[in-house]
């Protein structure tokens, strides 16, 4: 399974540590909140909201260099838009969320 990385963030920051720190702080603040919103939407089975949550979260995947995970999230989002809730896609998505949460604790 691919692993998160800071390549994009380093490229964007161009050696400016304060930019890197601010961006990571924003991600560390936004991501847990977004996951919480996502699980709440799953609980109430609100497909429209789940789709919005997935859309928001997947941007973090791309920022953390998770290209394959991003593609999977895209498919999950697309199927949700078509009102198809695929359990396998949900499980894969949840695994990625756990991986990123653990990664964010290490940086």
């Amino acid at each position: 399974m691919e692993q998160p990385n800071l390549n994009y963030i380093n490229q964007l920051a161009r050696g400016d540590d304060s930019i890197k720190k601010t961006l990571l702080d924003v991600i560390k603040t936004e991501f847990p909140q977004e996951i919480e919103d996502y699980y709440k939407s799953i609980e109430i089975k609100d497909f429209k909201k789940i789709e919005e949550n997935v859309h928001r979260i997947k941007h973090k995947f791309s920022i953390l260099g998770l290209e394959k995970s991003y593609e999977k999230a895209n498919e999950f989002e697309y199927h949700l838009r078509e009102k198809q809730f695929n359990l396998k896609e949900k499980q894969n998505f949840n695994k990625i969320l756990i991986m990123i949460s653990e990664y964010l604790q290490t940086i």
Binding site: L12, V26, I27, H59, I63
Partner: protein, 234 residues
Amino acid sequence: MNCIVIDDEKMARFIIKTLCDQIKSINLVEEFSDGIQAIKYLNENQIDLIFLDIHMPNFSGLDFIKTLKDTPKIIFTTSDPQFAIEAFGYYFIVDYLLKPIEFLRFEKAIKKAERQLFVQNQLDQNKEPALKNDFYVNIDRRLIKIDLLNIYLIEAKGGYINIKTENKNYVVHSTLKKIEEKLPNSLFLKVHRSFIINVKKIIDIEYNSVLINKDVIPVSRSKRPELMKHLDLL
């Protein structure tokens, strides 16, 4: 170039801000988490460029652009390629950037926006003000409205000018110079130091004169090339 960013994600707004900070010509003046706040701001402030997310809850970027009256240039910043065709249907859309946005791609979009703004400014500067249809003259302490399109000739006579229309002549205490400033260049031309004519009313032209209504008007040699430019020659 003054810009704003509209994106519901703080992280996305921060990335745009960071990218803007790396380009000298860009001044990011404000950021908004939704389009409604931005509309209020745009009603009171002049902006050159908007970085706009498409997928936002309740009020999407595409909904937002439909509400704009005086539209600045817009660069879409989005994760969704599927809206590109719809987006480029609007003339003010400069570019469509897919997230995560790389600096070189961002820089290219900014150059594109700058070029489009430059061309637009040039066109705005060369645009003739909207054609006025009439003006008022003071005759015997009365303000009388004269329809511009009815004027065929204005003649200077001492301290007065004689404005000739198809129905009536008006003698007004003024100068050709003053009235010339009020007339659209596309329609009126000073062909002689004492005459301004409506070029659309010319019946025929000889080498050094024009027939306009029943008046034969002299044309200065220096004014002849300009007069010829106004004519739609076969």
